[in-house]
Symmetry: C2
Subunit: 170 residues, 2 copies
């Protein structure tokens, strides 16, 4: 099983063994298991506040670019406005997010974290960064560069747009 021709061949004398189906399968499983770990710590925290991952995602991207419109957030998160709205309504009602009417275009709502929202964001992101920091440290800077490179290639091109690519130098 899984030793179909693809990837077993060689081109231009370079070994392409890292492209075998079995290597790809390992990569796939690594993504699966790692993503579980990646979300585990924030999930535990969110439970205490009766929130879910959807709330975390909204909080994260509002923190990243405060004043973002709902439409923009919808595009980034890739969910329907009804789905996002339910989450935002809860966060606004609980005083974690503030929705301000746009000044140029008063149809738009610009989203900001309140003080309380900042606090939860910090708690969540510190937990998540803690794990990432440990992983980065153990793997080293070169591995991290490869990690980021591969992840960026896995993304849909439209998502790569939202992902502010790390430009090195300086």
């Amino acid at each position: 099983m899984s030793d179909r021709g693809t990837g077993q061949t060689h081109t231009s004398g370079e070994s392409l063994l890292f492209l075998t189906d079995d290597q790809l399968r390992r990569g796939i499983e690594a993504m699966f298991f790692a993503y579980r770990g990646f979300t585990a710590d924030p999930d535990r925290i969110l439970q205490q506040y009766a929130y879910g991952r959807a709330h975390h995602r909204a909080i994260h991207f509002i923190k990243r670019s405060p004043g973002n419109t709902v439409n923009n957030l919808l595009d980034i998160l890739g969910v329907t406005k009804q789905s996002l709205n339910r989450v935002l309504r809860a966060l606004i009602a609980d005083g974690l997010v503030e929705s301000r009417v746009g000044k140029q275009d008063r149809r738009e709502r610009h989203l900001y974290l309140t003080e309380t929202g900042q606090e939860l964001e910090k708690e969540l992101s510190e937990a998540q960064r803690g794990r990432m920091r440990a992983a980065y440290r153990d793997a080293g800077p070169e591995a991290v560069a490869g990690f980021r490179q591969v992840l960026e290639q896995i993304m849909d091109p439209e998502m790569r747009r939202h992902f502010q690519t790390f430009k090195e130098g300086s």
Copy 2:
């Protein structure tokens, strides 16, 4: 924001700029966007069969180690037996998975893909591998090694056990 002390320091003269909160944030977002791409192709296929990601995961791990018991699968997938059972029931009813009573221990059920199950598995994994292969090829073997290293560090230790580590050499 996000320029707290951690990671900005230097130890033993080595630059630890890759551990800044901002770099970590980028890694976190990369995981988020990449995971979306990672599941996008199989998701599209599954929709045609009225299955979901949960079915894909079960199919994947039954394919990976045929004859696995339900308990083992539960451990790998990290869901409740009720949740897995719902999925397995559908797959068995649809003739994609076969459940055989254990020979040593007749309480156990050993799971196998049927011919039809193999076919769907192939369709799903070829789609998913296609994206991974392209990403791997574009990033190159060294980036892939780093990618795998970091992912393995992100996992929970218990999950690392299930993840058959790639041992290089020959």
